[in-house]
Symmetry: C2
Subunit: 311 residues, 2 copies
């Protein structure tokens, strides 16, 4: 099975590459790094994808429009499965989180990339995964996990949506690639949406586990629906004023995602089932994952890396 | 089980009402006609839907925006299943046929109504059915079926896409309501898309059957991809010049639908499976339907009515 991964150097891309290279079933023979210009002519892309069975797009969300020429090339090259780069939490298909309703700049039309793929009738799998452990780590008062936190995180306490009891599906980033390796070798997931996650937690339970394991007391900040919606509105206005500003884009995405999983409670297995996803729990009941508590123990033993950190 | 049907006087609505009233399992006790203003305040709508188990929207495609307040009211009233008014052929979710990507006028946002419903987390079933026998009837040279044809049909021969060998799923309009009656009483179809159809035909086979049964020779008109696309473009321009013109809207929808099922071949069970629909053939293998050949025999015996005919 020959697999091409686009965005292999990103956080999700690395998890997938690691999983494929260490997979025992199926076997992936080795790796080769090639460069490609998704914004250039399509002919070289088609040539590059000749003989490739599976294309996995792990493109960063601010470049999702590049999936359109990638899908065109995959269709022309006869790729057997196109794994689109959702690999995110469960959100409603429209109206809550904007970035998936990406503009397709060449055709000046909006719409989810999956819908473009479906118009092509390109065989696909659409995977969403739980919210990463690596993004659920609260700041500890001692400062001993500060080096693992994304740069802008939690200056004024760990934010909990509503009363902290909103459930959300979690996954360890290292497991995401391992799920992907199972899914792409599985005929049941062809032309399907699949939801994979490790455990369902509330943020109150996140705090309880972290406090118990660390022995430290966390600073909680409860965020109401109105506050979360205000944060989305402010971020939207900031982005409207400076559309090219990556920081403004990230802030808007982060505010919308928090509103979705932290306030609305969209990121649950029940909602995934409602939206028509297959469940990784049904497909792979034997899957051994890193629990959130294990992850926190690894953090405190200094055994793990942070995410989204410049080196 | 209490069912509310919106658009009960339309072609599909009548089929559904007839099927529910003659259904043996489940039983529907009787009928009551009420009037409601979908463009007025929402409170009376909510009151009207109190105690209703299932809402079926058979709204005409030029009023799809009215499904948004209907869905809001259904959610507020605790309706257990909202059947959205697709009840049409299988089309890609975006980019081929415009009318399902309806503007939501109040919020000035575009998007399929189903996506709005999914944001509400309103329990739903989305049903698509085959292209009606009643719309697949060719004009006969003798003129003896002219009274059954829609007013504008086939002045210059029966149009066949490409070489006439594009497959398309057919259904008899009278069976559509009977499928709906089965589906809404079936827990397997909750929060799912379902595709129901009778048989898969090419238009060449349509002509062969009609010629064999009628003994008349049909006038075929083969339509190339370029011609069909030109027809869509012309209809789009006409609609752009007179956006309020119902005739222009109908012509645009008809051209886009023909391009989808007649040229692209979107309306097949294989494409429905690809897009994630459950199949009525799997769900109801015992369903007894009117075959296309039976329908043609009924037509020639003068036993059936036409559709979309002013009385």
């Amino acid at each position: 099975m020959k697999v091409a991964i686009v965005g292999a150097s990103g956080e999700t891309g690395q998890s997938i590459v690691n999983a494929l290279l260490s997979s025992s079933t199926p076997k992936f023979p080795g790796r080769q790094l090639v460069s490609a210009d998704l914004r250039g002519p399509i002919a070289p892309l088609i040539t590059l994808l000749q003989g490739i069975d599976i294309v996995i797009s792990a493109i960063h969300f601010d470049a999702l429009a590049d999936e359109i020429p990638l899908a065109d090339a995959a269709k022309a090259a006869g790729v057997k499965r196109f794994v689109q780069s959702a690999l995110m939490i469960i959100i409603p298909p429209r109206g809550v989180v904007d970035f998936r309703e990406k503009v397709r700049p060449r055709k000046k039309k909006k719409g989810e990339n999956l819908h473009y793929i479906q118009k092509l009738r390109l065989p696909y799998t659409y995977i969403d995964a739980g919210w990463w452990h690596q993004l659920s780590l609260p700041r500890l008062p001692s400062g001993r996990v500060d080096h693992l936190l994304p740069p802008a995180a939690q200056h004024d306490g760990f934010p909990l949506g509503r009363d902290g009891n909103v459930p959300t599906a979690l996954a360890d980033l290292r497991d995401v690639g391992r799920y992907v390796a199972r899914i792409i070798a599985d005929p049941r997931t062809l032309n399907r949406r699949v939801h994979v996650y490790n455990e369902v937690y509330t943020l109150n339970r996140v705090c309880e586990v972290v406090e118990r394991v660390s022995g430290e007391k966390l600073e909680r900040r409860y965020v109401s629906e109105v506050e979360a919606r205000d944060a989305v509105d402010k971020a939207r206005m900031r982005l409207a004023h400076s559309p090219g500003d990556t920081g403004a884009l990230l802030a808007h995405v982060a505010a919308q995602l928090f509103y979705s999983w932290g306030i609305r409670g969209d990121n649950t297995p029940e909602n995934a089932e409602y939206l028509g996803y297959l469940s990784g729990k049904d497909l792979y009941p034997d899957f051994e994952y890193v629990s959130f508590e294990e992850y926190i123990r690894e953090v405190l033993r200094g055994e793990v890396k942070g995410v989204y950190q410049s080196t």
